[in-house]
C-alpha cells in the first residue's frame, strides 16, 4: 500500500522535473552521458560476471556453484578469506583506535610523527608490507637469517604472515575513521561527565566508547572489505593458504577456467556487498556524531603519567614496527643481492630507470590521463546528486558508490568479460586500463564531493541561476571553484590508487601497456627482492612528488587551503 502510494507520488512529482530538464539540454545531456558511462563501465562488467556464472545453455542455473562447493579446494578459499578478513578487521581496528585515541585524547609527545606514521600506509602500495615481511622474516630474511641465525623459523607464508601485513596495511583506514569520529564528539559531553564526578576511566567507558561505537563498527566493516579485496599481499605471501581474490585470478589465468573464476568472484562479491550495505545503510545511520569540521572547544586531555606513558609506549612500539617494515624496503633496495651479498649499490635503481622505465612511463601516463577525468566526473556526479532533481538520481548515486564495494578482482574479471569483443573490444588497449582507473575509485571522489557540497549553502548556486546562469555555467563558475578542496583531494586519492593499483588491472594489462605494480610482483616471483624494493621506493617517490604538486596547485589556485587528502579517505566511512 505504502509502495503504491510512493509510486504514485513519484509519478506525480516527475513531470515538472522532466520538463525542467528539457529546458536545459546541456544538463540533460550530462545526465544521460553519466548514466551511459556508469552503465557501461560499472554495471555491465558486473552483469557479465553474473551472466557467465548463472547461465547454462541460456538458462538460469546454479550448477557452477554446486561444482565449486563440492570440491574442498574451492570451499577453502571462501573460509580462508572470511577468517582472515575478520581477524584483520578486529586487530586493525584495535590498533587504529589506539592511535586515534592517543592523538585525540591523550597528552602524548610527538603527535605529528604518529599521525604521519599512521597515515603513511595509505599512500604506499599495499603489497609493500609483504615484500618487507619476506625481507625481514623470509628464508633469507634480515631477522631470521642475520639476527637469529636460523634458530627460529618463521612461518610467514600463510595466515599469520597475512594477518600481520594486512593489519599493518589497513589499520590506517580505522585510524582515519576513528580519528574523525573521536574528534567530532563534542568535548562538552566529556566535560559534563567529568563535572558530574566521573573518573577518566569511567568517562572512557560510559561516554567516549559508546559514542565511538558506530565508528568502530564502520572501521571493522571497511577493513573487512579491504582485506577481502586485497590481492597483492596474498599473491606474495599466501602460500598454501588460498584465498578468493587470488584464487579467482589463478583459476582464470592459470587454468583458463573463466566460468569457475567468475563464480569465485561472485563468492567474493557477496560478503563485500553485505559489508558495504551494513556499513552504509545501518551503521552510518546509528552515528551520533556528524563530522562537520567545525572547530571545537579545547578538549581536556588525559595527562596522568601512567596512562599517558603506557599509551605513548604502545604507539612508539607500533610506529617502530611500521618503520622497521618500510625501512627494510629502503635498505633492501640498495643491497646487491638480498640474503647473499649485502654490499651497498645503486644498481637496482639504475635497472629501474633503464629496463623498468617502460613500466614507469606507462604507469605515469595512464594515471595522469585517468586522474583528472575521474576527478571531474566525480564532481559532476556529486553536483547532479546533491543539487539536481531527475528520475533515477538515487540509482546514479548508488551505482557510483558501488565501485567502492566491489573488490578489484571482481572488477578486473568483469572488464575482460565485457570488453573482449566488438563493439566494445578494448582488451589490450591503453583505454581499458584508463577506464578501469577512472571508474575503480570514483566512489571516493563522489563521496567527498557530496560531503563538501552539502556544506555549501544551496542559495549560492540559486543566486547564480537567479542572475541568469544555466546549470553548466553555474557548475563551472560557482560550484567547481567552491568544491576545489574536495576536487583536489579526489585527484590526490585517485592518483595514489592508480599508481598502486594491482588487483583489477592485472587482468587487463598487456605486453603493450604494462604497469609498475605488475613489474614488482614479477620481481618478487623471480625472487629478485632488491629489484622489487627499488621499484617500490620509486613508486612512493613519484606519489609524494605528485601529492606535493597537487598541494602546490591548491596553494596557487585554491587560496592556500589545506589539501584534505586524509579526509578523502576517512569519508569512505561516512
Amino acid at each position: 500500500m505504502i509502495r503504491t502510494k510512493r509510486f504514485v507520488a513519484a509519478l506525480r512529482r516527475t513531470p515538472s522535473d522532466v520538463k525542467r530538464l528539457f529546458q536545459e539540454p546541456l544538463l540533460l545531456m550530462g545526465i544521460v552521458l553519466v548514466n551511459v558511462f556508469l552503465f557501461l563501465f560499472v554495471v555491465l562488467p558486473l552483469f557479465k560476471i553474473f551472466q557467465l556464472s548463472f547461465e547454462d545453455n541460456g538458462r538460469f542455473s546454479l550448477q557452477v556453484f554446486v561444482d565449486l562447493m563440492s570440491k574442498r579446494y574451492n570451499v577453502q578459499p571462501l573460509i580462508h578469506s572470511l577468517t582472515l578478513g575478520v581477524a584483520v578487521s578486529i586487530l586493525g581496528t584495535l590498533i587504529g583506535f589506539i592511535f586515534a585515541y592517543a592523538i585525540t585524547r591523550v597528552n602524548i609527545p610527538w603527535k605529528r610523527f604518529f599521525t604521519v606514521t599512521a597515515t603513511f600506509p595509505i599512500i604506499a602500495p599495499p603489497f609493500m608490507m609483504s615484500l618487507s615481511a619476506i625481507l625481514l622474516f623470509g628464508k633469507q630474511g634480515f631477522v631470521s637469517k642475520m639476527i637469529l641465525r636460523e634458530i627460529i623459523q618463521f612461518k610467514i607464508y600463510g595466515f599469520w604472515g597475512l594477518l600481520v601485513v594486512e593489519t599493518l596495511t589497513y589499520f590506517s583506514t580505522a585510524y582515519l575513521t576513528l580519528y574523525g569520529v573521536l574528534q567530532a564528539i563534542d568535548p562538552a559531553l566529556e566535560d559534563a561527565a567529568l563535572d558530574l564526578g566521573a573518573s577518566k576511566g569511567k568517562i572512557f567507558r560510559s561516554i567516549t566508547l559508546p559514542l565511538a561505537t558506530p565508528g568502530i563498527a564502520s572501521a571493522i566493516l571497511l577493513i573487512f572489505s579491504q582485506s577481502l579485496a586485497d590481492f597483492g599481499n596474498p599473491m606474495i605471501l599466501a602460500g598454501n593458504y588460498t584465498i578468493l581474490a587470488t584464487q579467482a585470478y589463478l583459476t582464470i589465468v592459470g587454468m583458463y577456467n573463466m566460468k569457475g573464476g567468475a563464480a569465485l568472484a561472485i563468492l567474493l562479491l557477496i560478503p563485500s556487498l553485505i559489508a558495504f550495505c551494513v556499513q552504509k545503510y545501518w551503521v552510518s545511520r546509528k552515528s551520533y556524531v556528524t563530522v562537520t569540521g567545525k572547530p571545537s572547544a579545547a578538549r581536556i586531555k588525559v595527562d596522568r603519567s601512567l596512562t599517558k606513558y603506557s599509551i605513548f609506549g604502545l604507539c612508539l612500539l607500533l610506529a617502530s614496527v611500521i618503520f622497521l617494515f618500510y625501512g627494510m624496503i629502503l635498505f633492501g633496495s640498495v643491497v646487491k643481492l638480498w640474503g647473499a651479498n649485502h654490499s651497498l649499490t645503486l644498481a637496482n635503481y639504475a635497472h629501474v630507470f633503464t629496463i623498468g622505465w617502460e613500466y614507469i612511463k606507462d604507469t605515469l601516463i595512464l594515471s595522469s590521463i585517468a586522474t583528472p577525468i575521474s576527478g571531474v566526473l566525480a564532481m559532476i556526479i556529486a553536483f547532479l546528486v546533491v543539487r539536481k532533481n531527475f528520475p533515477g538520481k538515487r540509482l546514479m548515486e548508488l551505482v557510483s558508490l558501488l565501485t567502492f564495494a566491489v573488490p578489484g578482482t571482481v572488477v578486473g574479471i568483469g572488464y575482460i568479460l565485457a570488453f573482449n569483443q566488438r563493439p566494445l573490444l578494448l582488451t589490450g588497449t591503453a583505454a581499458i586500463i584508463v577506464l578501469l582507473f577512472i571508474f575503480r575509485d570514483i566512489a571516493v571522489g563522489v563521496q567527498t564531493g557530496i560531503a563538501e557540497l552539502q556544506q555549501i549553502d544551496p542559495s549560492i548556486e540559486e543566486a547564480s541561476t537567479d542572475l541568469g546562469a544555466d546549470s553548466s555555467i553555474t557548475f563551472r563558475r560557482i560550484t567547481l571553484p567552491l568544491i576545489t578542496p574536495a576536487f583536489y583531494s579526489g585527484l590526490a586519492f585517485t592518483f595514489v590508487k592508480c599508481m598502486t593499483a594491482i588487483s583489477a588491472v592485472i587482468f587487463v594489462v598487456s605486453g603493450k601497456w604494462n604497469l609498475i605494480t605488475i613489474a614488482i610482483l614479477g620481481s618478487v616471483e623471480n625472487s629478485d627482492l632488491s629489484q622489487a624494493a627499488a621499484f617500490s621506493v620509486v613508486i612512493i617517490i613519484f606519489i609524494l612528488l605528485a601529492l606535493w604538486l597537487i598541494q602546490f596547485l591548491v596553494n596557487r589556485l585554491g587560496g592556500g587551503r589545506k589539501l584534505k587528502f586524509e579526509k578523502a579517505e576517512s569519508l569512505q566511512s561516512i
Binding site: I2, K19, S459, E462, A463, S464, L467, D470
Partner: protein, 360 residues
C-alpha cells in the same frame, strides 16, 4: 497604477516529502495582484508558505497549479535563469570566491554585456549602495551590513522587473536592521522597483510596505495597507499575529439600529458604529489592543485587579485580571498619570471608538 504588473492566479504548491508519503500543501489558492513600483510584503509565521510563494515567483519551484503573469506574459514555464526577477537571499548567497566587483558583475557578464558597460553599471550601483572604492575587496572580509549591500547591488544592477527579498535582514543585529530597512526602502523608491519582500517581523513589514499580505497555513488571511492590517484585521489570526499582545473579548450582538449595534460584553452593553456588518444574535470578538484600555481608580467600565507591573520609562505595561481573563494594558506617559501597584483594585475603560469587531 491599478493595472496588475505581477499577477498570481490560483497558485498552489504541494510537496511530496521524501520519506512520508503525505502531501504537504505549502501554498493554496493564492491570488494576488501587485502593481508596478509597489513594495509588497508577505508576512506570516514560519511555515506559512511565504518563502515558497516567493520561490515560486522567482522560478525556483514549479507550481502544482495556477499561473503567474509578469508584465502581461505568463512566466510559469520560464526557468529561474531566464526570468526577469532577482532575489536577495536570506544568507546573501554571495559567491565567496569572488570580490565585490565580480559578484555584482556576474549577472551582467552572463548577459554578455560589453565590458565597459558592465564596469559603468557596477560602479554606479556600488556608489548607490555606498560601497564605491571597495570593489576589489573579497566578500569574506565584509561586515554583515556590507554583505547585505553587495547582495542588494548584485540584484538591482540587473534592473529586474521584480525584486524579491527572502528575509534579508534576519542575520543582522537590531540596530543595523533598522538602518538597513530604511536604506532598502529608499533605494526601492528611488529606482521605483516592484518588490516582493518576505519576513516574519511585523515591524519590518509595517515600516517597509505599501501593502502587506498576511499568510497562514499556505493561504492569504488578509491583504491591506499596514494601517488596515493593524486597525481593521479581518480574522482573529491577523488580529493576534499583528501587534504585540492583543486582548480578545467575546461578545454578542443584542440590538441593532440604523447607526449602531449594541454588543453585550459581560454585564455591559457597548455600542459600536458598525450596523452593516453584523446582525442581531451574532457572536463577535472585540480586538482590544493594549493601548485601547485606560486604567482608573474611579469606577469605570470593568473592575479588575493588577497582577503585574512592568515599568518601561515612557510607558507602563500592566497585567490586569478581570472576569477570569488576563488583560495586557499599555499606559503611556506614566509620569503624568501616576502608576498602580500589584494588587491594586482598578477599573478598565475601553476605547470603544477604536476597538475593532470580528465575527467569531
Amino acid at each position: 497604477m491599478n493595472e496588475a504588473y505581477l499577477e498570481i492566479m490560483n497558485l498552489s504548491k504541494e510537496f511530496f516529502s521524501d520519506y512520508q508519503e503525505e502531501k504537504v500543501v505549502a501554498v493554496k489558492d493564492f491570488n494576488l495582484q501587485i502593481h508596478k513600483g509597489e513594495f509588497l510584503t508577505l508576512l506570516g509565521p514560519s511555515g506559512c508558505g511565504k518563502t515558497t510563494t516567493l520561490r515560486l515567483i522567482g522560478g525556483f519551484e514549479n507550481p502544482t497549479r495556477g499561473d503567474i503573469y509578469l508584465d502581461g506574459a505568463k512566466i510559469n514555464d520560464v526557468p529561474a535563469n531566464k526570468r526577469d526577477t532577482c532575489m536577495v537571499f536570506q544568507s546573501y548567497a554571495l559567491f565567496p570566491h569572488m570580490n565585490i566587483y565580480r559578484n555584482v558583475a556576474y549577472g551582467l557578464e552572463i548577459k554578455k554585456l560589453p565590458r565597459n558597460e558592465i564596469k559603468e553599471k557596477v560602479e554606479k550601483i556600488l556608489d548607490l549602495v555606498g560601497l564605491s572604492g571597495l570593489s576589489n575587496r573579497p566578500v569574506g572580509q565584509l561586515s554583515g551590513g556590507q554583505q547585505q549591500r553587495v547582495a542588494l547591488a548584485r540584484a538591482i544592477v540587473n534592473e529586474p522587473k521584480v525584486l524579491l527579498f527572502d528575509e534579508p535582514l534576519s542575520n543582522l543585529d537590531a540596530k543595523l536592521r533598522i538602518r538597513m530597512r530604511i536604506f532598502i526602502r529608499k533605494i526601492q523608491q528611488d529606482l521605483n522597483i516592484t518588490s516582493v519582500y518576505v519576513t516574519h517581523d511585523q515591524e519590518e513589514a509595517m515600516t517597509l510596505s505599501d501593502r502587506i499580505v498576511v499568510m497562514n497555513q499556505g493561504a492569504i488571511e488578509q491583504v491591506g495597507t499596514p494601517e488596515e492590517i493593524y486597525a481593521r484585521p479581518k480574522t482573529k489570526f491577523v488580529a493576534d499575529f499583528i501587534g504585540k499582545t492583543t486582548n480578545f473579548v467575546s461578545g454578542e450582538v443584542l440590538e441593532k439600529d440604523g447607526t449602531a449595534i449594541g454588543v453585550k460584553v459581560w454585564d455591559k452593553i457597548l455600542r459600536f458604529d458598525r450596523p452593516n456588518d453584523f446582525h442581531k444574535g451574532d457572536k463577535v470578538i472585540l480586538v482590544v489592543r493594549p493601548e485601547m484600555i485606560d486604567l482608573s481608580a474611579r469606577e469605570g467600565m470593568f473592575a479588575g485587579q493588577v497582577s503585574l507591573v512592568t515599568y518601561l520609562g515612557s510607558e507602563v505595561i500592566y497585567e490586569v485580571a478581570a472576569n477570569g481573563q488576563l488583560f495586557t494594558i499599555q499606559i503611556s506617559n506614566p509620569l503624568r498619570q501616576g502608576t498602580f501597584h500589584r494588587g491594586d483594585k482598578v477599573w478598565m475603560v475601553f476605547d470603544v471608538q477604536n476597538i475593532f469587531l470580528i465575527k467569531e
